[in-house]
Symmetry: C2
Subunit: 652 residues, 2 copies
């Protein structure tokens, strides 16, 4: 029997969000709202009230959002944080004696019972409230008390009791010693807007030369920046730019026997010239890279760097820190393998080394080094093959100093592992979107990402292709498939990325028996004629513009699927209530045939009436349609445009 | 970067059971097994192992149950505690380097790769293990190491590597410094068997006289005990036995105007003769009650006492502790009300009183008083109208001293409130069974109770009727309905109860417009002729015997429903794997017509083959049937017997 708790009669449980029972913060980006919910109830029949209170790390006082009753003892609140950084939040609840009294009073009055004593009880409640009210409100309470005391017209007293002004005044009173506070305080991390809204473009700098057969340089990439900016991308991501291992180097098409001119895979990092803090000499100097970063920034583009924590056999670390690798009884270093497959050009670090603290510090120093050079976005290669504890520590430490740094996890692996990486700090994650094709698959997957607890920690970044993955449908569906899958990625998820220019030009010859490009750019230098017309690029440019102009496309959580009468047509709405930006997106999933469908727009989820008339403007084609109610018809020819991106325009 | 954690590569999450994140214990009774599960995984491709460790409060060392991999990074374990009291349990996981090595070795050997170096790595692993092994096992390790060192036949080395004996020896080695332990230690409370398996009979002692019109006494009840025992009940529950309030006393049928001879409701507790620690004088002396408790015990019956924490207006507490009640401005004490309804014969305690600590202590002392008199089971009246904090404290304190005391929560209220009362300590709970009639409703409800987290804290007690509830189907369905609903209660739930003798005699006249008995025993003295034949009583007696003889009916969690071809026929299996006690129960839900159905017995959930032949014995009728496979036919005439309780007997 401790302190004052005995008189706190409200119970709070089943609170959300809570990531790993509060061990990790929930996350939102600036501009995104967040839903809170909890079961809140007391004993008996008294009326209960509940609130979420929150406080930014820079603030001293708690702010409050009242929760709304949602049935079955469940309460909900919604709030949009407006500062980057960490917030604390708590769930609170209390017995609302005033509302309890008011309800009883009205019931008794309606049942023609005498309410003289009830009015007196009300006066006691108001006197208690008056004592707690702020000075400028006390006179209001005194007036009301006087009215109840002197008035003999019960109807007038009941009218005062149920008045909005009295309710408003009472809702400000807090009987602090009777408020239950949930036993755990939670954290909310608010990230910069780019964490939630980004358009990535991946290219190999060594393929950036305007001259065929020449090794591209950072300067070549700098010259290409206006073209990338014109397409509407804001994040330009390069495979590793470090010296490439010369030992066990891979040749064309992953051959074990390279020719003398084969450049090797950029992911085989390090040689006699340096490792993770050096640049491959043929790309230029570090200063060229810094200039590239600076020029990109002027065009609104951030450079994303690939961090692959692994070494070629001739990486300097192997000699300088042999204890960071696993040595085999034959005196060789353990290379990467997934028996019986071997990857002899790559040595993994041994995260069970006794020298793990120095290893961790060195790996973190790689990030610090490139932040110093202006990099603000890191795409982490295969994080699921390195210790979770390392990522949690490293990302935490880096973002403590540089809270605006963004980490993207390139983990294509099992669900629990991907979820964990997100929980422990990665701001964005690659996803299974690449293999989700049918309407049912896409709806299931998006609902899992956006309507479950995953939304509080796992932020998807949708990629239709990568240098490692050429999915079957891009092979079979050609240009139309490239366009359709791009539109899906860019409208289902507010973060997406493409590996180009193969994508714009529809390069899609697979390596036999593999879900991968043949003559892969990973193992050779390519040359691209950036001035050649591409229908895909044209549509990319239009959609990126639409994304920038429509806040509803700048968050992922606001999606709702519409029923359609045809499984080849998928339809979803995206809404930004603050700007009243309401979109209906329909996509033909058939890459070869025109498909039409009756769609049932979930108007109530857009805050509209189910019988309403409205105008929709297709932002891709510019066409206008007058629609009425939920059921409407759409039709799309994939050879013209496989999608509609409708904006709802009010009808006067 | 703290301590050795950096090298612990395994993550544990999504652990179950955990009641309110471990704030409250999970619960099982002696004889019941409990399922544990968790997501356990590491980075990369190494093989992972997981275990639940546990320790009784009386033990110093941890015991271990290895978890089994169940797909998708999920692991499961099952264990049957054998001591009453509190256990701690933890979830642990680690990288299994030996199994990882073994799998790689076999894959490389099968792919005809050289395994010389792999054998050497194996030797290193065995040397490490040998150092950690118990003394008597070290020589085994030395032999194996020697074999690997000297043997040149790789097939023989692989055979040793994959041998069961080596696996068994390695499975005993624990690399303590690399084991991840989930951050929270949980509690499991193991209750005595009666918490899980009990058959309750409720009667009004004042109706126990063999003489019509006479007030029954404790001695009369003592005389009835052999009849209750013969029916097979083990818990005899009385409405409150305290002095009944004389002020505002209710008359027959809840009348506000009692006659002078009306005895009043036993729940209006207390008058000038005493309160919760006194007995109603017409029932006898406290010594008579103690004798009754003692005689009952000899017959295997425990007396359950009704605790209603509320007062008649003339209860001594009102004068002695006026601060424990809510006083209205007109100088009266607030009576119970749910506006506009009033219950003026009952005054609730004010749990927001400033004197709450003394109130709590006094209320607890009531329980202590009756424990002193031999009571070991308490049925708590309307716990949902008293503060949750009080119950948590009171039950915790009482059971700390008397861990075998059982509390049943009589809360017929909203789901979250009922769940909470169970979490904070009630051992058993009344349920919604009383209103679950159709096959779909019953299946849904039982699956919610037994297949969700509720099973870890909410233990149902099924009542077909109570003095407060005469459900419509007992009115409409007459004797057949009474028999059917009893069989359902007694076989769906291992705890059940009946309010009799109205039940055996099928008394079922409702009060007009109410789901309640007319001429209710709550407000008047009844007389029952216990020697009159009752078909219902006969079947109760048979089923209670079957319950005692079949362990599968002594726990609630082991139910699985069978598909049936007829919605009027419900079918379920109950299994006790330890004793190989396997039951199939079919019940006709139609009170008036014979119904038959093809049923699909889930044989795999009984550990049987789907094509197996077997014999079933109906323990109600004694009949034998030879069945084959999953699909079989049953038919029941409610006027003969509305159910089969089949026991599966092996066929030689």
């Amino acid at each position: 029997m401790s302190n004052q708790d005995g008189r706190k009669r409200v119970v709070i449980t089943n609170v959300s969000p809570q990531v790993e029972s509060g061990k990790y913060p929930a996350r939102r980006a600036i501009g995104e709202s967040i839903d809170f919910s909890a079961d809140v109830f007391g004993d008996g029949h008294d009326v209960v009230a509940a609130a979420v209170i929150y406080k930014h790390e820079s603030e001293e006082n708690w702010n409050e959002v009242l929760m709304q009753f949602a049935g079955n003892d469940h309460w909900e609140a919604n709030w949009s944080p407006d500062k980057e950084g960490f917030y604390q939040y708590q769930f609170t609840g209390w017995i609302d004696h005033f509302t309890t009294w008011k309800k009883g009073l009205v019931k008794k009055y309606d049942a023609h019972q005498d309410i003289a004593v009830e009015i007196k009880i009300g006066i006691e409640l108001l006197e208690e409230a008056s004592a707690l009210a702020e000075a400028q409100h006390k006179s209001d309470f005194q007036q009301w008390i006087e009215f109840f005391n002197n008035n003999t017209d019960y109807q007038a007293s009941v009218n005062l009791a149920i008045s909005d002004e009295l309710a408003a005044a009472m809702s400000k009173i807090r009987y602090t010693d009777r408020i239950t506070v949930f036993q755990k305080t939670f954290q909310l991390e608010v990230e910069r807007k780019k964490a939630a809204f980004s358009s990535w473009y991946e290219l190999f700098p060594r393929s950036a030369s305007p001259e065929p057969e020449q090794h591209g340089t950072f300067k070549d990439v700098t010259a290409l920046l206006p073209k990338v900016a014109k397409m509407g991308f804001d994040t330009l991501y390069f495979p590793p730019i470090h010296p490439i291992g010369e030992m066990k180097r891979k040749g064309k098409n992953n051959s074990l026997v390279p020719s003398e001119t084969d450049p090797g895979s950029p992911w085989a990092i390090g040689n006699r010239l340096g490792g993770h803090k050096a640049v491959h000499p043929e790309l230029g100097e570090i200063e060229d890279f810094e200039e590239l970063v600076g020029e990109a920034k002027k065009l609104g583009i951030e450079i994303a760097m690939d961090i692959a924590y692994q070494c070629a056999p001739d990486h300097p670390y192997v000699k300088e820190h042999p204890q960071w690798f696993k040595w085999r009884p034959d005196g060789t270093v353990q290379y990467a393998e997934n028996p019986p497959k071997r990857y002899e050009d790559i040595l993994p670090f041994d995260f069970e080394t006794h020298d793990w603290e120095n290893l961790w510090n060195e790996l973190k120093s790689v990030i610090d080094f490139w932040i110093e050079k202006g990099v603000s976005v890191f795409r982490i290669d295969n994080p699921h093959t390195k210790a979770f504890g390392f990522w949690e520590w490293m990302i935490g430490e880096v973002r403590k100093q540089h809270p605006r740094i963004i980490f993207l996890a390139e983990a294509f692996t099992r669900p629990r592992v991907m979820e964990r990486l997100a929980k422990i700090g990665f701001n964005q994650s690659y996803t299974y979107f690449t293999w989700r094709n049918s309407k049912w698959e896409i709806e299931q997957y998006l609902n899992e990402l956006t309507k479950t607890d995953q939304q509080y920690y796992f932020r998807p970044n949708f990629w239709p292709n990568t240098p490692d993955i050429l999915p079957h449908h891009l092979v079979e569906g050609g240009e139309n498939a490239h366009i359709t899958r791009f539109i899906l990625a860019a409208t289902l998820s507010s973060n997406y990325g493409l590996y180009g220019p193969v994508y714009e030009y529809g390069v899609n010859t697979p390596h036999p028996g593999k879900e991968e490009y043949t003559d892969n750019e990973k193992y050779e230098i390519k040359h691209w004629d950036w001035d050649r017309y591409s229908r895909t690029r044209d549509i990319i440019t239009r959609v990126n513009k639409i994304r920038k102009e429509n806040p509803a496309l700048q968050t992922t959580w606001n999606i709702n699927f519409a029923e359609t009468s045809n499984d080849m047509v998928i339809c979803y709405t995206k809404a930004d209530p603050h700007s009243n930006n309401l979109l209906i997106i329909a996509v033909n999933l058939d890459f070869f045939n025109t498909q039409g469908a009756n769609i049932k727009v979930p108007l109530h989820k857009l805050g509209m009436h189910w019988e309403q008339s409205y105008r929709v403007r297709d932002m891709l084609s510019g066409e206008l349609y007058d629609w009425h109610g939920e059921y409407n018809y759409v039709q799309m020819n994939p050879y013209e445009m496989p999608a509609h991106i409708f904006k709802i325009e009010p009808l006067n």
